[in-house]
């Protein structure tokens, strides 16, 4: 039976109880109802109704039975625009063929967590989406019962058809939609039982598929409007610099250029949320008639830059204030590495300690110590940053790709001097997110530009702007130590992890809880290079480091790497070390994915010539284990196959979830193997794909198989969890294939290896 977790949000849940029959009853009230502006049919073949009847903020039903379902969250490639409406449709009991999906605008009264972040789109809206569908189903049944003068309990709803068996009456949803829309929203409704799901758990194709393969306008960069101007910005070439002066006249006469000026994104006293922040507050703006003309003019602009002083800024992050220091000066990658390696003890903080690790290390018969590192990374969404705005005297319309419309609204309001309620933000489909579009400075920029130009404006970044603007995945460093006694038992475990500017440590994750003497410490190094969340923040490094180190421990102990992990997890499940509840993970579910991947990869019987590495990790409430197979071809390691086992609770859309698993695997191999952003004198040394290496087609695994643990648990994260562990599986397989351990990403730089 489904586990219900009632969330306190803008929508109040009045009560929550179970029916004797096993169904679920939920009481709630809708505070608001949404009136979408654009009714756009996404499934082109469907015939549109003459009249729509709005049942609640998530859906409306046409007089011909076609249903429009709103997808509230930003679509960045995680496929929520298909999977979120599937949940509504299942509870509504409508044929998926009769569903059209519409992107909802930002509506903080109606929807909660309209964010693409933390792999939480599905999990945070799971109950709301189900209730939206179930409420509508209930109201349709009530409308039929009233029309036919029969008890509502005798009316059934299946596949968009309402029927009453005793009288033989039946009607399509379209026929009852008008009556249903006039009914009061019920106080209580029954949700389906999991076993009765007919859409959830079945693979449904991407609702935008046909538009994608025919090149229809879907993305922010595709927005066109009557009278629209194109803008682009110029930011300092190096971190630690700001604008000194520029010569607008040098480019104003160029063809198609309308204006050249500067904007400031916020005044010094503006209380910034961490997501508003950017390294470059003052920017030069070039506005013109077409993109190419604007890009050309930018290149020709004469600018002088000067050094920034040290800045300390206060920012809020989910209600907590924090002080952040950005030192003065131009930074270099060599200095970064040195600072991470030679961290002074005064900067190290203990995050967790169990038992007596100091004594265990002192008395150890043997100690192994290994250090791991990774560089800064640029998100490099395939669609560069862009946004559209049309600002008038008292109103602002914004449209484009953003992962956090709600969090950016205050900064837009501030820069324009227009109240929040007059700011209207809509989302397009987005050419990738990976965390980059959580930081929406570009929304503030385009709003300010449109206000100044008194015209609709689309802001477009070049790839170089996008890659050199900041908000990178931090550079991380971790040193692990393990102590063994004379019988080669593992007696203590120590991790010291840090980064620029944040630590990647999760002190309470595995193997915490599985080892008696455990010490986790962290440290940070300040920098003026701005960083931000990058797909599975912190996990995206620490998982690979930890899983590589566990591999070495297992080898040291002469144990099979899966058996060794399972032994530790058994300990964590049966007799966990540490305070009760202090361990973040569920050891049994963790073991479950390892057992599943062992079976599905046929772990014990690898084909001859196949070198295998395993890894398993928990993040975003989901568990992923992966086995990666390498075959040496002409002395070069080639990734032949990856087998993944995933426990993410109920899987809404299995084939789409497999696609995310495949993407996570390829993304993880790519970044661990090839990518990195380095600095010289504050300047990124890579600014486009000629020098910044992303994984390419040939380097991807030949085959990826994904298996899901059958589960009745409410859905947990899926966009991020498959990404971090594969880096460990890759390093471990490379060791088996080449005899060489890989500690420092990108691995390609450690030795000339290309898969």
């Amino acid at each position: 039976m489904t586990h219900i977790k009632t969330k306190q949000g803008r929508r109040a849940f009045i009560k929550n109880s179970s029916l004797a029959g096993g169904g679920l009853v939920l009481g709630f009230s809708w505070f608001n109802s949404c009136k979408p502006k654009v009714a756009e049919a996404l499934a082109v073949e469907i015939e549109m109704p003459k009249e729509w009847y709005e049942i609640n903020g998530y859906l409306k039903i046409g007089d011909n039975g076609v249903v429009t379902i709103m997808s509230p969250n930003p679509e960045i490639g995680q496929n929520v625009r298909t999977s979120m409406p599937m949940i509504v449709a299942d509870e509504l009991e409508v044929d998926w063929k009769n569903v059209v999906v519409e992107q909802a605008a930002l509506n903080t009264n109606l929807y909660s967590w309209q964010v693409a972040g933390g792999s939480r789109s599905i999990s945070s809206s799971w109950q709301n989406l189900r209730m939206a569908g179930a409420t509508a189903r209930h109201m349709l049944k009530e409308a039929a019962a009233e029309t036919w003068q029969v008890p509502v309990g005798e009316v059934t709803a299946v596949g968009g058809i309402l029927s009453h068996e005793a009288t033989g009456k039946s009607a399509g949803y379209g026929e009852m939609a008008s009556a249903a829309s006039k009914l009061e929203v019920p106080e209580e409704i029954e949700l389906k039982e999991i076993k009765d799901f007919s859409i959830i758990g079945t693979s449904r194709k991407n609702v935008d598929g046909k538009k994608l393969v025919t090149g229809k306008p879907l993305f922010g960069i595709d927005v066109q409007r009557e009278g629209m101007l194109i803008a682009s910005v110029v930011h300092p070439p190096a971190f630690g610099m700001k604008l000194k002066s520029y010569d607008a006249e040098s480019i104003k006469q160029m063809p198609g250029i309308r204006d050249v000026f500067t904007i400031k994104l916020y005044n010094d006293d503006f209380k910034k949320m961490a997501f508003h922040f950017t390294a470059f507050n003052e920017l030069i703006v070039v506005v013109g008639d077409s993109t190419w003309q604007v890009f050309q003019a930018k290149k020709a602009l004469n600018v002088e830059w000067e050094n920034n002083p040290e800045v300390t800024d206060t920012m809020t992050m989910f209600g907590n204030d924090m002080k952040v220091t950005f030192p003065a000066g131009m930074e270099n990658s060599e200095d970064h590495t040195a600072k991470l390696k030679d961290i002074t003890s005064s900067k190290i903080k203990v995050a967790r300690k169990d038992g007596n690790p100091e004594a265990a290390f002192k008395n150890a018969a043997k100690i192994i110590e290994r250090s791991y590192s990774c560089p800064f990374l640029a998100h490099n969404t395939m669609e560069p940053m862009n946004f559209f705005a049309h600002v008038t005297d008292d109103h602002a319309e914004l449209l484009g790709p953003t992962q956090t419309p709600e969090w950016m609204e205050p900064a837009v309001s501030e820069v324009l001097g227009i109240p929040l309620e007059n700011i209207d933000i809509q989302m397009t489909r987005q050419g990738g997110g990976f965390g980059r579009r959580l930081y929406g400075h570009f929304m503030v920029e385009v709003a300010a530009i449109s206000q100044r130009m008194k015209a609709p404006v689309k802001l477009v970044y070049t790839r170089e702007d996008d890659m050199t603007q900041g908000i990178y995945r931090p550079a991380y460093y971790a040193t692990y130590r393990a102590a063994f006694d004379t019988d080669n038992n593992l007696t203590a475990f120590h991790v010291r992890a840090g980064g620029i500017p944040e630590s990647p440590l999760f002190a309470n994750r595995f193997p915490a809880g599985a080892i008696d003497n455990y010490l986790a410490e962290d440290f940070t190094v300040d920098s003026n290079i701005t960083t931000g969340a990058f797909r599975a923040p912190r996990s995206n490094f620490i998982a690979g480091a930890e899983q590589s180190f566990l591999d070495e421990i297992a080898e040291e102990m002469g144990k099979d790497p899966i058996d060794f992990r399972l032994e530790l997890l058994k300990r964590a499940a049966e007799d966990p070390v540490g305070e009760k509840e202090s361990n973040d993970y569920d050891a049994n579910r963790y073991a479950g994915v390892l057992e599943l991947v062992r079976e599905k990869s046929n772990w014990k019987q690898a084909e001859p010539g196949v070198h295998r590495g395993v890894s398993a990790y928990f993040c975003h409430q989901s568990y992923v284990a992966q086995v990666l197979d390498i075959v040496m071809e002409n002395d070069t390691p080639v990734v032949h196959k990856v087998t993944a086992a995933i426990d993410c609770g109920i899987v809404v859309n299995p084939d789409a979830a497999s696609n995310l698993s495949e993407g996570g695997v390829i993304d993880g191999i790519g970044h661990a193997m090839y990518s990195g952003l380095t600095f010289k004198d504050g300047m990124p040394e890579q600014s486009n794909f000629d020098r910044y290496r992303l994984i390419r087609h040939k380097e991807a695994p030949k085959k990826i198989e994904t298996y899901f643990v059958q589960s009745d648990i409410d859905p947990t994260g899926m966009g991020e969890p498959p990404f971090p562990p594969i880096m460990g599986a890759l390093a471990n397989a490379l060791y088996k294939a080449t005899g060489q351990r890989h500690y420092h990403q990108p691995f390609i730089k450690e030795k000339q290896i290309i898969g």
Binding site: I76, G77, Q78, N79, K205, N206, D208, G209, K210, L212, V213, T214, G215, K216, P217, L218, F219, I221, Q224, I230, P255, S290, T291, W292, F295, N380, T381, M382, E383, R429, Q430, G431, G432, G433, F434, V460, T462, R463, D655, A656, N659, L660, E662, G663, V665, I666, D667, G670, N688, F689, D690, I695, R696, H697, K698, A700, P701, K702, K703, I704
Partner: protein
């Protein structure tokens, strides 16, 4: 500025732009054909791939002055009803994640299959290697190219 007559997706369009303007921006800003995507602007990612005659080319590096009488086909003109075998295969395999790179992938794949209707796995990898997919849909792309070859052979 200069006037150009461009054969595109079966029709001819006239346009007055600077001769150095890349076709990518002519398509997107002037012809309102935004299916062709901007990814890097330096011929490294393949997002802007179109057909020039029968060849897959990077439109970000193709100045309008170099087009002449050659025909350009964009994703919008690949088929009338979106049912080119490559488009069918893409729909069947449900290749895309964010989808941004896919127009370029489809244009590269359709040019490959025109020249080589039955490519080996290695030939597919070779032809598709210039198209970056940041989301990592490469295994699905390969599967869809093979499927498109099959569809071609059965029709």
């Amino acid at each position: 500025m200069a006037t150009f007559s461009i054969h595109i997706n079966g029709s001819t369009k006239n346009i007055d732009v600077d001769p150095s303007t890349p076709m990518l921006w002519v398509l997107r800003d002037h012809f309102n054909l935004v299916g062709t995507k901007f990814g890097c602007g330096i011929a490294q990612c393949g997002a802007c791939t179109v057909h020039l005659g029968e060849n897959a080319v990077r439109s970000c590096q193709l100045p309008i002055s170099a087009v002449g009488e050659q025909h350009i086909t964009t994703i919008e003109g690949l088929s009338e009803n979106g049912d080119h075998p490559v488009q069918q295969a893409w729909l069947e395999v449900d290749v895309y994640q964010c989808g941004y790179c896919q127009a370029g992938q489809i244009m590269t794949a359709s040019a490959l299959l025109k020249k080589n209707p039955n490519p080996t796995e290695e030939e597919i990898e070779g032809a598709m290697n210039g198209n970056i997919c940041r989301c990592g849909t490469y295994t699905r792309i390969k599967k869809a190219v093979k499927k498109a070859a099959e569809i071609n052979q059965n029709t």
